[in-house]
């Protein structure tokens, strides 16, 4: 895990990663390491949040650091704005190609208080960047696919949730309702308003004045629509509950590839359990949780992205949103295996010749070995 060091106000320096070259930081430091992983996560994404440093001082956030450290495979793409006018940015990760590439989408933090989700996106990015040069399978993924990863989608809500258990966006209510916020995961054009929502703007599952009333939902919708032909897989990360949810949230509507989605989901749950023994349940929301509509997962499936899953990470309610720090790493490790299980399946299904090539190479090698051994005899 990167250790981002939070600097005291009296330095003229900025945050840096200890694992990066120290000579990048051209200043003297008097630092107080921020030891809490949750606080580090906040400062990784929102370096200004806890400091009163003048704006002109360059702050390298975690995303910028990733781009800087891996310029050949990482670029950032700004694809929308939050209600409070913050940039919504994703990291595009993959080996460069002249031809358009197929892609995997992952977003975290659509619900503000589900902090383990952005922590997972960060972990995922770190893992794939740390292995693509040495792991042939990951290298192949980087060659054939691009990863589009949004570490914190609901940025306004995330900052607001530092001091309270906020879920929704931060847009003001309408039609005389004085409460703030819309549940972004009820605001998409996917059976909007049909089930599992509230029309009371004070409710945590208020689905918005109208579909796509929220700029964050618009940003995702526009990006998914523009890249629909490239996207193979849509993963949206939440907590808590230890679930892998498949489309759809409406009890009477089934995805055409439900059986395959369940099979892939169950394999992912098995991969998760293999890491630390933790059980994740797989199913549609009406089966395992509650009916809902207007979710990003359902929208992705509806526009034709074949593999669309919601991950609900640890735990099952003992700590809920306030997961203890010592569970962050194990949760990320197991979820990583779950996500990779799905991604590998989707990749191998789309690029079967790659698997064939491996098999052919194996046979060639075996044949050569047999031939050389018979010659010796």
């Amino acid at each position: 895990m990167f250790f981002m060091v939070l600097l005291s106000q009296h330095t003229t320096c900025f945050m840096f990663s200890i694992t990066a070259q120290l000579q990048d930081c051209s200043c003297k430091l008097r630092t107080t390491p921020s030891t809490s992983p949750w606080r580090r996560l906040f400062t990784n994404f929102f370096p200004h949040s806890f400091m009163n440093l003048p704006q002109k001082i360059l702050i390298l956030g975690w995303m910028e650091q990733m781009e800087k450290n891996h310029p050949d495979v990482v670029s950032s793409v700004m694809y929308g704005m939050t209600h409070e006018k913050r940039n919504i940015t994703l990291l595009k990760i993959g080996l460069n190609s002249t031809l358009p590439k197929k892609a995997i989408w992952m977003d975290c933090g659509i619900h503000a208080r589900e902090w383990i989700a952005p922590a997972f996106c960060q972990h995922f990015v770190k893992e794939i960047l740390g292995s693509y040069k040495t792991d042939p399978k990951m290298n192949e993924l980087f060659k054939n696919l691009d990863f589009y990863i949004t570490p914190v989608l609901n940025m306004d809500g995330y900052i607001y949730s530092w001091t309270r258990l906020w879920r929704k966006s931060r847009s003001p209510g309408s039609d005389g309702c004085t409460c703030f916020g819309t549940d972004l995961n009820r605001n998409f054009y996917a059976n909007w308003g049909m089930v599992g929502i509230s029309r009371n703007c004070c409710s945590e599952i208020y689905n918005g004045h109208s579909p796509l009333s929220e700029s964050e939902a618009v940003a995702v919708t526009d990006f998914l629509s523009a890249n629909r032909d490239q996207l193979l897989c849509f993963l949206t990360i939440h907590s808590y509950g230890q679930l892998i949810l498949v489309p759809y949230g409406h009890p009477n509507i089934s995805a055409p590839n439900y059986d395959e989605l369940m099979e892939v989901g169950l394999a992912a749950a098995k991969a998760i359990k293999a890491v630390h023994g933790v059980d994740y349940t797989v199913g549609t929301p009406p089966d395992v949780l509650y009916a809902n509509s207007g979710s990003s997962r359902d929208f992705a499936r509806l526009i034709g992205i074949p593999f669309s899953f919601t991950f609900e990470l640890r735990d099952k309610g003992d700590f809920g949103f306030k997961l203890p720090e010592d569970q962050i790493q194990p949760t990320c490790e197991e979820a990583y295996q779950g996500a990779m299980s799905i991604i590998n399946y989707v990749h191998d299904k789309t690029f079967p010749s790659a698997a064939f090539t491996v098999t052919a190479t194996l046979w060639t090698t075996l044949t050569a070995a047999w031939l050389s051994s018979t010659t010796l005899l």
């Binding site: 809490s36 900052i159 004085t178 409460c179 945590e204 395992v288 700590f319 203890p324 720090e325």
Partner: protein, 235 residues
Amino acid sequence: MSEEGLVMTSRDLNPDYYEARRAGNAVQHYINTLYGSPFRLYSVTQVHKARTEAMADTGMKYFLEFSVKDWVGESSEWHGSVEVLYPRGETQAPPQVQGSWGGLPQLNISAKEQEFYQRYSAADSSVSGKDIPDSYGNIDREMKPFWHLARVAASFVMLNESNENTLYNMAQVAKITQLETQDDQLRFDYEVLLHNMVSQEIIRWKLLVSWSPAGGVKVLETELLPRCHCKSPTQ
């Protein structure tokens, strides 16, 4: 189909699906009201089998086989079976839970309880705190038994509020203030935040709680606090 309440409709449930999960959640709260302590908290880890029967006049009954363990004491898992009856009616009434708990693991915590009791029944003891866990995800080691106690006390409310459309967990202790010991019971004023997974709402309750090793956990008063519909700025 049921006729005149004579024939009961029985339906097998997938034990991983929402109906069995919600019923298991109510059972967890029930067990904690009976046996929970600052040093003992139970979690239903899994429902293995579930069946439901419509009881014509009284309500909906769930039959569960489940595993539970004391995760504070790190006990082994215990397999039990239980009946949960959600009463019919317009107003909220708690489910009635029936089971036999003889085999439930109850690790010996009397030494810890006594030490804790002695420490905090001192005349000048005035524990207080807020936001447990805090934004750093921390619970101070000293505050852990008070957090466990809050979870047990919250279980009384969560059980009372449970029905087939709820799934309650305690999200956070907003406030704790120790009050004067009375009748040899430690007493605390708690403000707890409950999370209902189904509505996703955070509900604030004020609880007056007493505890002693001999008396166990008692919730003397409860008050539902109004939601804060704050129009505060973002920061």
